[in-house]
Symmetry: C2
Subunit: 418 residues, 2 copies
């Protein structure tokens, strides 16, 4: 059997399973997720044994410490996966719910009914917990899911896939509703990306290289973000202590993630007062600054920023700093270098807050709080499957609802059109 | 200047105009639409003179009567375009409105704010009124629009483009917010479809050939429907007189449109009673039937259907008829041959109505009413820019709201993440 035949078979089976999943009541989907959680905890040894094979191979192949760390499944990881499934089982099921109901002048009753998308392909890198987390969300939303993790995690992912399949079977659901692609070949991804007749959506999760590859090769709609170059603009009216607290949190609380702060924009009026404060606080948090000319005049010992710093996603304990003449200049900087991910303003001015929120184009625009809040859990969506900076369909964190769409429904009593 | 340079210039100018349009208050957008409506009525002679050039060329080139009819602008067409703009000016502006507001446990106030998509490309065939109708909707939603009509309508479209640009200028808005591609070259379309860095959405409107070409060549997301193969299923519990009235309306009221009925599915229990009734009514409406074997046993003189009839979009006074053993078989037929456009059930049974609505996958599923109601105006969206059978972003008629998306906004008082 060629790789192409295998992928088409997987996608076809997923399509058939999706038709069943679309009409399944919530109880049955929740039972499957709960069964998976139970089986995860019961099979800790098997999972860790399979994972150990991947970790050993990764060590032999000289993978970096960070990559091996991401690849390793511990008892804590397994507990977290099981708890994640239980949490998703407890979330409301959007499928079949009605919204935007209206009664037309002719008496026709119309509404939008939420329905699953169908078949979702998830393409991701090393972390094997994505296999379980993504499957749980896609299944809860009534979809079938095809999972393609990093080739270095194949043993781990196949072990998790078996547990997911058994959980589906426990609840009387088709195992083909969640399938892991059982081969390492890179070709498999590109073949999957061309199955637009069978797959409804692709969500890539990983580094910018992976995502650019998926977008370039997919004939299926892709929801993605390339990177997060997030800014905080400290207005001349800002509460400076609040600004320090927010910026340090946004930068240093977890520097390696996409909603971490990368560039700080400071109104020139408060720069002489604010920059020394933020420099002191950032230094204590082990963050080093790279400043524009004006910043370097105030903070004599920091490294000067170059043109490359403005579009940089450091994902590290480094922060670019730029002094701006006013909010217009801050907004122009964000429009030029931002990534439509997360943008914050710290201000006490009503008009500035409103204008910044209205005019800045980013998946989250936030006033007087940390950029780190761009997260499905923090914004009240429950669990999230990722953050989209694509504007169509979903812009921002994607929860269960973003894994569904709506169709129109109408109830009549014999209406015909004139 | 090469065609590519021209298209990139148009798209770049559209992008800059989109940034301005996104922040413009409703009053100014409505003023532009109203100014365009006034200018349309004042420039009837110019428009008709330019249109006459297109019509004369079309006659010389031997275009069909139907095509020339679609191309021709009459005083009535101009009045309808002007009234359409005035109607859209009267619709609510979704931009800046908030939904899904919540207060998080830490006091952060979150919501989704509706924002324009950005730059929208509309690719359509002969009718020049699309130029005005589509521009009006896109502009009202705060977008910039690039219009590419049929090459046979270029004089007409350029005349309309000038009026639109003047209307924008009257209201102090950038003329580049609505541009017609000023050349006939087919290459221009394919170049436009590759401007994914500048254009956010493509909406093709026309025959299946045009739409397939656009989908195959676009690197920009496309919202489209290929065709409408719409079914009505007459359940064994149906009110047969209601079923006749609905089916005749769905088939014959305007047979050339995508929400017209193409195949009738009849429960076998009522077929002997219902088929003669519907045959009589359809014959009176000049509709000829093509029947399955069982239908032909009851209606001896109708043409037998072949395998090609089931997926056919006739767009004509022809109706395929199939007798089915039960609703399951009807739903299986729809799943196999339907186009996810519009599906109707005529029934008096509560459980069947609910199950059909829930399980049939179409942009509108309708009970006891005509398929012709799949239309933005009829479903309460105001004017529509087309119907989507793409599931992502919009599924069904697309009104102003479907030309926008939402971003997350959050108001804090110093919240940081733990």
């Amino acid at each position: 059997m060629t790789i192409e035949t295998q992928i088409v078979d997987i996608a076809t089976a997923a399509g058939n399973a999706a038709k069943i999943m679309a009409a399944v009541p919530r109880k049955q989907k929740d039972a499957a997720l709960t069964a998976m959680a139970g089986r995860l905890k019961k099979n800790t040894d098997t999972i860790r044994k399979e994972n150990a094979k991947d970790v050993a191979a990764a060590r032999e192949n000289g993978l970096s410490f960070a990559m091996i760390d991401r690849l390793t499944i511990t008892d804590t990881t397994i507990t977290a996966m099981a708890e994640g499934l239980t949490y998703v089982a407890g979330l409301n099921d959007p499928v079949g719910t009605l919204s935007d109901s209206s009664i037309r002048p002719n008496g026709l009753e119309t509404a939008r009914m939420r329905i699953p998308l169908g078949v979702i392909g998830i393409i991701y890198e090393s972390r094997p917990n994505v296999t379980v987390d993504a499957a749980g969300l896609c299944l809860k939303a009534g979809n079938a899911v095809i999972l393609r993790g990093g080739s270095e995690a194949l043993h781990s992912n196949m072990a998790l896939a078996q547990i997911i399949a058994q959980g589906l079977a426990d609840a009387g659901l088709p195992a083909a509703a969640a399938q892991v692609i059982p081969m390492r070949d890179r070709e498999a991804v590109d073949i999957l990306l061309k199955q637009e007749a069978l797959v409804d959506l692709i969500i890539p999760r990983g580094g910018e290289g992976l995502i650019r590859h998926v977008v370039a090769h997919s004939s299926i709609p892709v929801l993605k973000h390339y990177k997060g170059v997030c800014h905080a603009y400290v207005d001349d009216t800002a509460d400076l202590d609040m600004a320090v607290s927010i910026c340090v949190n946004a930068k240093a609380q977890r520097p390696g993630v996409c909603n971490a702060l990368e560039t700080l924009l400071v109104h020139e009026t408060i720069a002489p007062d604010f920059l020394p404060k933020i420099h002191h606080a950032m230094t204590q948090a082990n963050v080093s600054l790279r400043g524009c000319e004006a910043s370097c005049r105030i903070l004599k010992h920091i490294q000067p920023a170059t043109q490359e710093d403005w579009p940089a996603e450091y994902l590290d304990l480094i922060l670019a700093v730029r002094v701006v003449p006013d909010m217009n200049a801050a907004m122009a900087h964000i429009a030029e270098y931002g990534s439509n991910h997360t943008e914050a303003i710290i201000t006490t001015d009503y008009a500035n807050a409103r204008r910044f929120v209205r005019e800045v184009d980013a998946s989250l625009v936030i006033v007087n709080a940390s950029t780190r809040f761009n997260d499905g859990g923090e914004l009240g969506l429950g669990a999230e499957i990722g953050i989209s900076t694509s504007k169509l369909h979903a812009y921002g964190p994607m929860g269960i609802r973003e894994l569904t769409t709506t169709k129109f429904v109408a109830w009549g009593s014999g209406q015909i059109r004139n």
